[in-house]
C-alpha cells in the first residue's frame, strides 16, 4: 500500500515536471536581458525552498527528539537533512551554472552564495558527526544538538553578510517585483513536483533508517545472548 503511494507520487512528480518543462521551454519566451539561461530559475529557486524546508523540519524533529526521546524523530531528522542537503547542492550547482553565463564567473563570495555554502557545509558536518558516534541514543542526542546549533547559525551568516553589496539578484518576494507573473507563477508550479520528490525521498530514507535501527537492535540483542 505504502509502496504504491510512493510510486504514484513519483509518477505524478515526473508528469508534473514534464508538463512544466513543456511550458518552460515552449511557451514562456526568453527573458529580455538574460536570454534562455534564466529558465534555470524554475529549478534553482524551488530547490532552495525545498532545502530550507528540509533544514527547518530537521531542526523541529531534533527539538522533538530531545523532548520526547523517541528515535523516530531522529530518523526523521537525518532523512530530511540528507534530502535537504541534496537540494541545497542542486541549488548551488544550478546557481553556479547561471553565474558562469550571466556574470562570467562560477563563484563569488556574496551574501547569498556564502550563506548557502555555509549551510551545506554545516549539514555535511552533521552527517559526518552521525558517522562518528556508535551508540544510537547518543548519536541521536548529539546530532540533535548540532542540528539546532546549525539552524540558528545560518540566518546569522545570512544577515551578517547582507551588509556587503550583493551581486545575487534581489529576492522576488520583497521589493523587486520585476518578474513577469507567468514566470513568477511557474516557479511555484515547479515547486510542487520538487516537493513531491522531497517527500518521496524523505519517506524512503526514513523507512531505510528505521529498518537500519531495527537491524542494529536485533544485532545487539543477538550479541547479548
Amino acid at each position: 500500500m505504502k509502496d504504491k503511494l510512493l510510486y504514484a507520487a513519483c509518477l505524478l512528480a515526473a508528469w508534473l515536471v514534464l508538463a512544466n518543462l513543456s511550458v518552460i521551454l515552449l511557451v514562456l519566451p526568453d527573458e529580455a536581458e538574460q536570454g534562455a539561461i534564466y529558465r534555470i530559475i524554475f529549478f534553482h529557486v524551488p530547490a532552495a525552498w525545498s532545502a530550507f524546508l528540509g533544514f527547518l523540519l530537521a531542526a523541529l524533529a531534533s527539538v522533538a527528539y530531545l523532548v520526547k526521546r523517541n528515535l523516530w524523530f531522529d530518523a526523521l531528522a537525518v532523512s530530511v537533512t540528507e534530502v535537504g542537503l541534496v537540494f541545497s547542492i542542486v541549488n548551488l550547482i544550478t546557481g553556479m551554472i547561471w553565474g558562469r553565463i550571466i556574470w562570467g564567473i562560477w563563484w563569488t563570495w556574496d551574501a547569498r552564495l556564502t550563506s548557502m555554502l555555509v549551510c551545506a557545509l554545516l549539514y555535511a558536518g552533521y552527517l559526518m558527526l552521525r558517522r562518528a558516534v556508535e551508540e544510537p541514543a547518543q548519536r541521536a542526542k548529539f546530532s540533535a544538538v548540532f542540528s539546532i546549533f546549525a539552524f540558528i547559525d545560518v540566518p546569522i551568516v545570512w544577515f551578517s553578510i547582507q551588509w556587503w553589496r550583493t551581486q545575487h539578484p534581489q529576492p522576488v518576494f520583497r521589493g523587486g517585483g520585476s518578474m513577469d507573473p507567468a514566470m513568477y507563477k511557474m516557479m511555484f508550479a515547479n515547486w510542487v513536483p520538487l516537493l513531491l520528490l522531497f517527500a518521496v525521498l524523505s519517506a524512503v530514507r526514513l523507512r531505510q533508517e528505521r529498518a537500519r535501527s531495527e537491524i542494529d537492535a536485533l544485532r545487539r540483542e543477538a550479541h547479548a545472548l
Binding site: 555555509v118 559526518m128 558527526l129 542526542k141 544538538v145 548540532f146 546549533f149 546569522i156 551568516v157 551578517s160
Partner: protein, 226 residues
C-alpha cells in the same frame, strides 16, 4: 549564587591543572607562533597588504590555537573517569560548562595577548595605540569561540577522531563571529575609529555571543547528562 561559586571553582581547577602541566598552553602557543611565521612565508606581504589581511591572519591563528585548547578541555577529564565524577558531583551542568568556558577563555586570551606583539613585530604593524578597542574585540571574539567550542568539546570528547571532529563542526558554526572579529580587527589596525560600519560588526559579535551563550547553557545539560 552557588552557580557562580561552582563555575569559579571549576575554572580555578582547570587553570591550576593546566598551569602545572602547561600541555595545552605550550602546544597552542607554539602552534600559533609557527602559523604566524608560515603566513609570512606564504604571502610575503607588503605593508599595505599586511594591513588588509591582518584581521583575517590573526583570527585564523586564534581559531587554530583555540581548537587545541578546546580539544584538551574535556579530554583532560577522561583519565581516571574524572568526567563521570564531575557529572555526578552536585555541580550543575551549566555551572560546569561555564567554569570550563572561563578557563578556556583565560588560556586563549593569554595566547592571543602573546601573539599580538609578536604579530606587531614580525609584520611591522602598530597596534599599541588601539589596544583597548582591540582588547574588546579579542574578548568578545574569543568568548564566541570558547562558548561554541566548549559545548562541542564536551560533545566530541568520546568520539572517534575527536581531534578532527571538533574543528570540522565548530569552524563553520563560528563563521559569523570570526567574520565580525576579522572586520573589526582589520578596521582597528587600519586606524578606523570604532564607529559607523565597525559598530555594526561589534553588534553582530555581541549578538552572536548572547545567542550562542544562551543556546549553549540551555543544551549543555543534555550533552553532558543525557
Amino acid at each position: 549564587m552557588s552557580f557562580f561559586r561552582h563555575a569559579f571553582q571549576i575554572a580555578a581547577k582547570d587553570l591550576r591543572a593546566e598551569l602545572r602541566t602547561k600541555e595545552a598552553l605550550n602546544a597552542s602557543l607554539s602552534f600559533a607562533l609557527v602559523i604566524l611565521l608560515l603566513f609570512s612565508f606564504a604571502f610575503d606581504p607588503t605593508a599595505e597588504q599586511t594591513r588588509e589581511i591582518s584581521g583575517g591572519l590573526l583570527w585564523l591563528v586564534f581559531a587554530f590555537a583555540g581548537a587545541l585548547i578546546l580539544n584538551r578541555s574535556f579530554a583532560r577529564e577522561l583519565t581516571n573517569d574524572c568526567l563521570d565524577a564531575l557529572v555526578a558531583s552536585p555541580v550543575s551542568g551549566a555551572a560546569l560548562f561555564t567554569g570550563k568556558c572561563l578557563a578556556n577563555m583565560a588560556l586563549l586570551v593569554a595566547v592571543e595577548l602573546i601573539c599580538l606583539p609578536v604579530f606587531g613585530i614580525f609584520y611591522n604593524v602598530r597596534w599599541v595605540h588601539r589596544f583597548w578597542p582591540l582588547l574588546l574585540t579579542l574578548i568578545l571574539g574569543t568568548w564566541g569561540i570558547t562558548v561554541v567550542g566548549t559545548v562541542f568539546s564536551a560533545l566530541t570528547v568520546n568520539l572517534r577522531l575527536r581531534e578532527l571532529m571538533l574543528p570540522t563542526l565548530v569552524y563553520p558554526l563560528l563563521i559569523p563571529a570570526l567574520m565580525a572579529a576579522i572586520q573589526l580587527t582589520t578596521g582597528l589596525l587600519a586606524g578606523q575609529p570604532l564607529a559607523a560600519e565597525l559598530t555594526n560588526w561589534l553588534k553582530l559579535l555581541i549578538g552572536f555571543d548572547i545567542i550562542f551563550t544562551a543556546l549553549a547553557l540551555g543544551l549543555v545539560e543534555t550533552v553532558l547528562m543525557g
